[in-house]
Structures are given as structure tokens and as C-alpha cells.
């Protein structure tokens, strides 16, 4: 973070620099194009809706990486060693995501019903919710979530850098002890952020398992993203000498577990709300399953569950980094589809029928993704690709770290 030595041990391959430049170009072009179009077309509501979609998608991958980072500190396991640096790099770009939260604040009046006094006025329940969700509180809570996330990412990265330098065993113990309460804080903050940012799009609706579906999705996206990045890194030295079949296999197993957890929680929500059939709850599904969005729902069943589930059952596939990376890319993409399904059918009146899909729903998430990717690769290149004094180093690499 502060001082990058000229020659890092285990440095990132030069190919990453190219990815960083290209991602940045894609990000700037798509985002700038969407902003100009939004101004010219006078469609701020569509722009902000798409922005929320892209933002939640990439924030989800980042937070998932933070959570998986803490999970591997707690549980050990050799898979955690090979993806520790990508996880840490993703966590380090949280301050950038905090800055990118600002446009959402300007979008509040365009995408959230509860911000419209005239709509809330006649309903006591809505008024009650509008008081909790009101913009100042919405912003204050957002700041609090980011404070917690950035602090956790900062501490874990600082200790990790210190471990690289000194190899002090106390640091390992400290990261492990921190990760237990850290995961509790992660779960609670993501829960309330999911209520604020996503569930409140439909203010009278509520589902208690909703945040768990999002958490399962975030962890799945993070593990899949790491599997894809690991494949990319393993094409070049030094990671080509380090990554082994069994590490990829473990990642594949966990992806399978989270595919199932996502499906289990999503199915629970559907079947309980369907069976209860209460007007305040079923509306969420009616708006999605009785319109053109049902095809998206079907696509989710097939590509967010059935296909990856069937593929990930294969042991051969899980041990093949290239094939696993393909499934991983699919899973990162279907996370977008799931969030589209959550966000898009819920917008202001006029969006309730058919399947109003707009090109910005692709352009803005791609733009945010480009900027995210550029920042991630930049962060990844700042440090050695493997944690130098991790307790698993010798077991994985086969010898003590070569410090340059």
C-alpha cells in the first residue's frame, strides 16, 4: 500500500498489466457512454437502475472475497493459500467502491418509491418504513457498512503485509482470531445493506431469507471469480509452478456447495411464499413469474443451478483448471442475471409489465466491471502473488520462500 519495492518476489506476470489497461478503457468508455446517453435521452431513472444493478453485482464479488478471505483464515486448507492474494487484492479496492456509492445517493429519488412523500402519505405502514429508509439514514447506514468493510479489509491486508515482511507467527494467530467476529460483522452488515439497497425497492415486501440468498450468491461469485483468476495466473510463472490440481479441486467443491446453498435458500423462499399466497408477499413473484421475466426465472433455474450443479458433480471437471474456470465464468455471469431478476422488475410504475430490458442494463454493469477489474489487477500487482510467510507456504511450494 505504502511502499512497493522495485523487484517483488513472486511478481505478477506482465500479462496482467495489459488486462488492467484494457479493463480501464472498457470501464471508462461504457460508463461515459451511458452517462452521456442518460443526459441526452433524459433517462436518469433507467441509468440509476442499471447503476444499482452493476454496483451490487461488483460489490457482491468484493464482499464475497472479503468473507472467503476470513473463512480461509479460520479454516485453513491449502486452497486458501493459492487464492489469498487475489482475495486480499479484491478487499483492498473497497475504498474505491465506497466512492462509487455516491452516484447511488443521487439516484435515490429515481429508483426508490419510499423517497416519494406523496406515495407514502396515505399508508401508515409505508410511512413507518419511509422513516427508517429515509435518505439521511440510508446514507448514514451505507457509510457505516463501508466503514466496517474497509476497516476489516485494511486490518487484514496490513497484517498480511507485515507477515510478508517479518513472518511473525503472532500475525497468523491474529488474523485467525479476527476472522471469527469479522464474519459475524460481514453477515450482519450485508444483511442490512441488502434490505436498504435491494429489498426496499419494493417497500411493503419482505422475506427473512432474502439476505442469506444474497450472501450465498456473494460467496459463490467470489469463489468462482477466484477460480477464473487462478486459471489465468496459472498460465504464467510463478503461479504455474505453484497451483496444483488439488487446490482447484477444493475450489470446485466449494463452488458446488454454494451453488446448492443458493438454490436451497432461493427455493425455500419461493415455496414458502407460494404456499402462503399472502397478498403482501406473493406480489413479488407475480410481478416476475406472470410477466416476461419468467424466462429469466427459467434461465436462473437452468444456469444458476441445474447446469453448474450437474457439471460440478464431476470430479474430473473440478480437477481441470481450464474447465472449472469456464463454469466459474458462467457463475459470475449468472450472478448478474439473478440480481437483474431481483432489481429490474421492481422499478417505478411503468416498468411493471412485459420485460423492459434496456441496453444500459448491460452497459453500466460492464462499465463498473471494467473499472473494478482495472483496480483489482492494479492491487494484485502491488504484492507478491503468494503470501510469503503463510504457514502453508512450504507444504504448497515445496521449499522456503525466496525473498528477492
Amino acid at each position: 500500500m505504502s511502499y512497493a519495492p522495485v523487484t517483488l518476489p513472486y511478481p505478477a506476470p506482465p500479462a496482467l498489466a495489459r488486462i488492467q489497461r484494457r479493463s480501464l478503457v472498457i470501464g471508462v468508455v461504457f460508463l461515459a457512454g451511458a452517462v452521456i446517453a442518460a443526459i441526452v435521452e433524459h433517462s436518469p431513472a433507467q441509468f440509476f437502475r442499471s447503476y444499482l444493478l452493476g454496483y451490487v453485482w461488483w460489490v457482491g464479488i468484493t464482499l464475497g472475497c472479503l468473507a472467503v478471505l476470513m473463512m480461509q483464515h479460520l479454516a485453513g486448507g491449502l486452497w486458501g493459500f493459492v487464492i489469498r492474494r487475489p482475495l486480499e487484492a479484491a478487499a483492498r479496492i473497497l475504498p474505491l467502491l465506497a466512492v462509487m456509492f455516491v452516484p447511488l445517493i443521487f439516484g435515490i429519488p429515481y429508483i426508490y418509491l419510499w423517497d416519494h412523500r406523496e406515495l407514502v402519505l396515505h399508508d401508515a405502514k409505508l410511512q413507518h418504513q419511509a422513516q427508517y429508509l429515509a435518505a439521511p439514514w440510508f446514507i448514514a447506514r451505507g457509510a457505516l457498512y463501508f466503514l466496517a468493510w474497509i476497516l476489516m479489509a485494511y486490518l487484514l491486508n496490513r497484517w498480511s503485509a507485515a507477515q510478508d515482511a517479518s513472518g511473525d507467527p503472532v500475525l497468523r494467530r491474529r488474523m485467525q482470531t479476527f476472522s471469527g467476529p469479522g464474519l459475524v460483522i460481514y453477515a450482519l452488515t450485508v444483511t442490512f445493506a441488502s434490505f436498504d439497497w435491494l429489498m426496499s425497492l419494493d417497500p411493503q415486501w419482505g422475506s427473512t431469507v432474502y439476505p442469506l440468498i444474497l450472501i450465498a450468491g456473494q460467496m459463490l461469485a467470489a469463489l468462482s471469480f477466484c477460480a477464473a483468476i487462478l486459471f489465468l495466473l496459472a498460465q504464467h510463472k510463478p503461479m504455474s509452478d505453484i497451483v496444483q490440481e488439488k487446490h482447484v479441486h477444493s475450489l470446485g467443491k466449494m463452488m458446488l456447495a454454494f451453488v446448492m446453498l443458493w438454490a436451497y435458500t432461493s427455493y425455500s423462499q419461493l415455496v414458502i411464499i407460494w404456499a402462503g399466497n399472502l397478498p403482501g408477499e406473493i406480489s413479488w413473484y407475480l410481478r416476475r413469474l406472470n410477466t416476461g421475466w419468467k424466462y429469466v426465472a427459467l434461465a436462473l433455474v437452468v444456469f444458476h443451478f441445474a447446469v453448474p450443479f450437474a457439471l460440478l458433480l464431476s470430479r474430473d471437471l473440478k480437477r481441470n483448471a481450464r474447465r472449472l474456470a469456464r463454469v466459474a465464468m458462467l457463475l459470475v455471469l449468472v450472478r448478474y442475471l439473478d440480481l437483474l431478476f431481483w432489481i429490474a422488475p421492481n422499478s417505478l410504475p411503468g416498468f411493471e409489465h412485459g420485460m423492459p430490458f434496456h441496453w444500459m442494463d448491460i452497459a453500466v454493469p460492464a462499465g463498473i466491471g471494467g473499472i473494478w477489474m482495472a483496480a483489482f489487477v492494479w492491487a494484485l500487482r502491488q504484492r507478491p502473488l503468494v503470501p510469503l510467510h503463510d504457514q502453508r507456504f512450504e507444504e504448497v511450494v515445496g521449499h522456503a520462500p525466496e525473498t528477492a
Binding site: 405502514k125 413507518h128 418504513q129 434490505f195 422475506s207 431469507v209 415455496v271 414458502i272 402462503g276 504457514q391
Partner: protein
């Protein structure tokens, strides 16, 4: 597999050093074959037997008089029977988790606790299964729950989760039994070969089903065991999910909430691991098995309890937040009634026993203190029972219409039945410990350094 790691991580080993193939076999089989039956065993078994007699008396009287002897009424038609059903079946889940999921996850520490945890599952499911049957009112017509061709035009309502329960629980029992029995076969062979009396040799020989321990036997055995583990794994989640649907499919406030499936599964594992500790700690002490059931096992169980307990606490938080956030009249009243209504003392006892006290498990000192672990586990078992009581009773006794409100008080027959099942469970566990190897002999042998050398030589 685990021992070299232990020296590096500084954790307690999963099997104390100094054991060989012979000492492991000797020590475990001696408990069944040659050691004298202790007075403690006789007393414990006797108490269990007496309570089982109480259960028989309570059930007999129930069959004569009908469910009117219980405290159930309208509006609270579910009462103790369902509370105890959910409690017992939840306890069973830890056994399946330990035996199936931890096997698939290559966690060798499970090897010394899986056998009695599986036995615990079987006996807990037996206790659980009794309650819905007795609650039917006319239990002798239980087979009407199955879809079979008949002339009465009776067919189960497949949209009712109570029918799903029949399938879920009977599958669960069948698979758990098969898994447990298949796991026992090599050890039954060992006991047959070591038994002195003709009777014991005959009995164990019959149960060992011709086990000779040949390479081909082992190969078939290993694949059968893995397949059964694969079959049992979804059951850890599915059974309690269906139990949670019993509640969540309805529209009763406090029951109809989408977090119920994961929250019930977590609660089941929570109480199950508490029961594993309640059984493991005395066994370890009285049979001096501290070298096989080490602090590592106890601490790992405690960690799983901490995690699942936190998920349960998260479930409570979500219910409360959602009732406040949506300000639904009925949900808000349900929460208020739990906290301030006639059953409020039980609710607050639930919060203390199920959420506050187990937070002590964050501390390594508590996790490594056997007495404290035993105490916390007992408290969690009480807490999880209270949770089911609160869910069943407070949601039913005051629902949508104030004119149909009521109260529920368990009668002595409710208590006799409940305490009777605890006695039955204890009696069955005592018999199991006396007549079958409570720790898997052949799986313990794989933990030895010698086994590792042989595995490498292959």
C-alpha cells in the same frame, strides 16, 4: 493423515500417541467383551428402564383414553407432541452430519465419535417418530398416511407437509440405520473373532454377515460406505427442512417466514452437537477414553455449536426485524406477545439459554474445559426445547381472532411421555455401549501412523 499436522498446528491430536493396531482393538473390544459390567452402568440402565416403563404406562393410558389426557386443546392442538418431535429429530441430525458429511469432507477426527453419534441418531429418531404417531389420535390407523391402493377412497393430501414428514422421517430412519449397520460390519467381525462365549460368537457372527476382511470385501465395503454417505448427506438438510415446512407453509404469524428452513437445519445441528457432547463427555470419563475422544473432538464440536448457534440467533433477529420493518399487525403482535405475553418467562429463558450462554464458547478456555462444555451443552438442549415450545405454543394460542384465543398447559401425562422418551433414549444408549463397540475400531486404526506408512507404500 492428521498426526504430523498436529505437531505443526499445536492442536490436540485426534488419537493420543502410543497406540498401535493391537491396543486400539484391545481397548475398544474389551469394553464389550471382557470388562466387568460396572455398577454405574447397572444404575444408569436401571433408571432408563424405569423411565421407559413410565413411557409404556403413559402410552397405554393414552391408547385407552385418547389424546384428551394431554394438555392440547383448541387453539393449541399441537402442544408437547410436536415440540418433542421436532426436538428429538433435531438431535438426530448431528449423527448424520458427523458420519456422512464429515466423511465426505475427509475430516479424520470424526472417526472416534461417529459410531455413537449414529446410534444417538437412531434412538433420537425412534423417540421423535413416536410423537406424531401418538398425536394422530387413532395411531393404529397410521398406515392411512401412506399412499396405498385401498377400497376406502383414502389418499393422502400430497400438498400437506405432514405427508412429506412421513416420507422424510421414514427415509431418514432407514438410511441412518443402514449406514450405522454397514459401518458396524467389520467391527462385528472383530468381536466375533475375539468373543469367548459361544452365544456371543454366534450372535456377533450372525450380525457380521460372513465378514472375512479379504481385500475384495474391503473394496466393496468402502464403495458401499461412500455411497451410503452420499445418500445420507442430503438427508441432513432435507429432513429438518420438511419439518420447518410443517410450520412455514401455513400462514400463522411466527411460523410463516422464509428463513425457517436454514434456521431449523442450523438449530437441529446445534442441539445435536450439544447431545453428542452430553454423551461423549461422560463416556470419555467413565471408560477412560480420553486418548481416543480427545480435547480436539470436544473443541471441534464446541466450534460447530457456536456457529450453528449464531445462525439460530440470526434467525431470531430476522424475525424481529421483519416484524418491525413491515409493521404487519399480526407479526408485530406475535413478537410482542412472545416478549410480554403469558409465556414471556419461557421466551426470556430461551434467549438466555440458547443465545447468551453459548456465547461463552467464543473463549478457548471454555472450549477446553470439559465441565463447562458439559454445562453449556445441557443448557443448549434446554434452550432448543424451549425454542420449539415457543414456536409451537405462542404462535397458536393467540392468532388472528381474539375470540379464539386460549392457553396451553401440559398435563402430567405430557410430562410422563416426554420424560419417558428421554428414559428410552438413555436405556437404548446404555445397551448400545454394553453390547456394541461404541467407537469404530477399524476407522480408529486408520488414524495410526502405521496405517499412513502402509497407505504410502501402496
Amino acid at each position: 493423515m492428521s498426526n504430523p499436522q498436529d505437531t505443526r498446528t499445536g492442536k490436540a491430536p485426534v488419537l493420543a500417541p502410543g497406540h498401535t493396531f493391537a491396543t486400539v482393538t484391545d481397548k475398544i473390544s474389551a469394553i464389550v467383551l471382557s470388562r466387568r459390567t460396572t455398577l454405574g452402568w447397572v444404575v444408569g440402565f436401571g433408571v432408563g428402564l424405569l423411565l421407559t416403563m413410565l413411557l409404556l404406562a403413559a402410552v397405554s393410558y393414552l391408547l385407552v383414553k385418547g389424546v384428551g389426557i394431554w394438555g392440547i386443546d383448541i387453539p393449541v392442538a399441537w402442544g408437547f407432541a410436536i415440540v418433542n418431535f421436532v426436538w428429538w429429530i433435531g438431535i438426530g441430525h448431528a449423527g448424520t452430519l458427523i458420519s456422512a458429511i464429515l466423511l465426505l469432507l475427509n475430516q479424520p477426527w470424526r472417526n472416534s465419535i461417529n459410531r455413537f453419534a449414529e446410534a444417538m441418531t437412531l434412538f433420537a429418531v425412534m423417540c421423535a417418530g413416536m410423537f406424531p404417531l401418538l398425536h394422530l389420535g387413532r395411531p393404529w390407523l397410521f398406515y392411512w398416511l401412506f399412499p396405498y391402493p385401498n377400497t376406502m377412497q383414502v389418499w393422502p393430501q400430497f400438498r400437506s407437509p405432514l405427508v412429506w414428514d412421513v416420507f422424510a422421517v421414514s427415509t431418514y430412519f432407514t438410511v441412518s440405520f443402514l449406514f450405522w449397520f454397514v459401518g458396524l460390519i467389520p467391527d462385528l467381525g472383530t468381536l466375533r473373532d475375539r468373543a469367548h462365549s459361544r452365544l456371543a460368537r454366534g450372535a456377533y457372527g450372525f450380525l457380521a454377515m460372513g465378514w472375512r476382511g479379504s481385500a475384495r470385501h474391503w473394496k466393496n465395503y468402502e464403495s458401499a460406505y461412500l455411497l451410503l454417505a452420499g445418500l445420507a448427506t442430503p438427508l441432513v438438510v432435507s429432513v429438518h427442512t420438511v419439518v420447518s415446512f410443517d410450520f412455514a407453509i401455513s400462514i400463522v404469524p411466527g411460523w410463516h417466514t422464509t428463513i425457517f428452513p436454514p434456521y431449523f437445519v442450523a438449530g437441529a445441528i446445534y442441539s445435536g452437537f450439544a447431545m453428542v457432547l452430553v454423551i461423549a463427555i461422560p463416556i470419555r470419563k467413565f471408560y477412560s477414553l480420553g486418548d481416543m475422544i480427545t480435547m480436539r473432538h470436544l473443541e471441534n464440536c464446541a466450534k460447530i455449536m457456536l456457529v450453528t448457534g449464531l445462525i439460530v440467533a440470526y434467525g431470531y433477529l430476522m424475525e424481529h426485524f421483519m416484524a418491525w420493518y413491515r409493521s404487519d399487525e399480526f407479526d408485530a403482535f406475535m413478537v410482542h406477545n412472545r416478549m410480554h405475553g403469558p409465556y414471556a418467562p419461557l421466551y426470556w429463558a430461551l434467549i438466555v439459554t440458547n443465545i447468551l450462554v453459548p456465547q461463552a464458547l467464543w473463549s478457548r478456555r471454555v472450549r477446553q474445559n470439559v465441565g463447562a462444555l458439559f454445562g453449556v451443552s445441557i443448557i443448549v438442549l434446554i434452550g432448543m426445547w424451549l425454542e420449539r415450545f415457543i414456536i409451537v405454543v405462542t404462535s397458536l394460542h393467540r392468532d388472528f381472532l381474539t375470540s379464539s384465543w386460549g392457553m396451553y398447559y401440559p398435563t402430567k401425562w405430557d410430562w410422563f411421555t416426554f420424560v419417558g422418551t428421554i428414559g428410552f433414549f438413555a436405556m437404548a444408549m446404555y445397551l448400545f455401549i454394553r453390547f456394541l463397540p461404541m467407537i469404530s475400531i477399524f476407522e480408529m486404526r486408520t488414524l495410526l501412523p502405521e496405517a499412513e506408512v502402509e497407505a504410502e507404500a501402496k
